[in-house]
Symmetry: D2
Subunit: 139 residues, 4 copies
């Protein structure tokens, strides 16, 4: 399995904090996406390149497990790692306190390729993804 990872650091903004003084659970989908896009940029296949390659990659599954809450202005590290790419794109995530390393959240997303012109779901990942993963991520 080629290794593709990315880490992004964020500070929880005021507008993400709910009435219980913690980041509202739905915002972590955004935090995951920031790290996933950073990983995909490393192989030159972020959203604009996806579209140019003729494929959309909708998220078809998303799972989040919340272990500890995140507070206002807390610095978080969001780690994404590629787990599957041959038939679908699966990333796993961990969100940790940037200072202590304590884990707050984990989860995963699954995306599949859809041909933009025909609208057809691809059961095998198109070469434009596979070539990029294998070229960039293996020695």
């Amino acid at each position: 399995m080629p290794e593709l990872t990315a880490d992004v650091t964020i500070e929880v903004p005021f507008h993400d904090i709910d009435v219980m003084e913690v980041a509202w659970h739905g915002h972590f989908v955004k935090y995951f996406e920031l790290a996933r896009c950073a990983a995909l940029r490393k192989i030159g296949y972020d959203y604009p390149q996806m579209r140019d390659s003729g494929y959309a990659w909708p998220v078809v599954e998303c799972y989040l497990k919340y272990v500890r809450p995140a507070r206002y202005h807390q610095r978080l590290t969001v780690h994404a790692v590629l787990r599957e790419y041959e038939n679908r794109l699966r990333f796993d995530y961990e969100i940790r306190d940037a200072a202590s390393g304590e884990r707050l959240t984990k989860g995963y997303t699954v995306q599949v390729a859809v041909d933009i012109t025909s609208g057809e779901l691809q059961f095998v990942s198109p070469d434009c993804l596979i070539a990029r993963v294998e070229k960039t991520c293996t020695a």
Copy 2:
């Protein structure tokens, strides 16, 4: 001036409430948009028809004045009224408590037409807008 108005009723959702137990001020831009889209649908010129007409209508100005806070699950009426359309599209808004009629927020947005193909700003509203406003809104 042809009269074009719309009212939509919303209930403030939990995910819009901030740590002070009121709707975070930025969410009202969304509430304005719901009423503006409802008004534009009345003349058959909501987002899909805009795009099909060859024009984008970016918001170029937005103003909000907050008089009273909105609370969780409060029912609000968002009222939009067309104020200008010949050279630009200006809507004024009022958000009131749906039960008492007490005013919470007011504001306005201004949009201008941009030719999607050329990217050129239009200093006069295109006929596709003017005809729709004048046909639907005048007796």
Copy 3:
């Protein structure tokens, strides 16, 4: 198992639509929440009553499976059904096209009770929840 369900109808707003012309996947966490809050209001235990009872109920797990995309202004029915309540609060969700009934999304959330004063996680749901579920939902 007492039966507790709720259905809410929404129209996908413009500000939830992404560049692929579909509702961005993270927004469905909000749609789930609207139906869950409606269900909890039926037993008199929505957010304000939770807080008054001395317990917070953070979401500790969230899963979403996307079957079909949602489009701008599409009317959706969000259905929530209570699946567990004795030790934790689990709701399952289905989002369908309001007109055709075609299923777009499904998923679940899990919440646990946390004593607001002590911060302690409750491994058994407090009586304030159990009594409300059993009183309202069983004949």
Copy 4:
């Protein structure tokens, strides 16, 4: 006038991009807030200190003028500068492309102090703000 400014750099995330391939106009309220909070942290008076001082500072006015659109992954610099503080808190903002310096958006927000216990609006800013501004920002 004491000088209090802050600059924050952001990259426009995918989930802020709308169907016209630009950042949806409502998201700029969040970008303004990031720079305002950074400025307020310089004088030790960000949200947690506001609450501890006994005052909430709701936004009562917000204005945004959009000059050019922001694109996916564009790096933006958000500049906030304090313009009034004696009776109310006014910040002006400019958002520029981080590389070219080209201006995309400008605007302002106005906040007023509200006594959290009594709910009373303060027509003069409380000393806890004035002392912090004058101590930190004047030589």
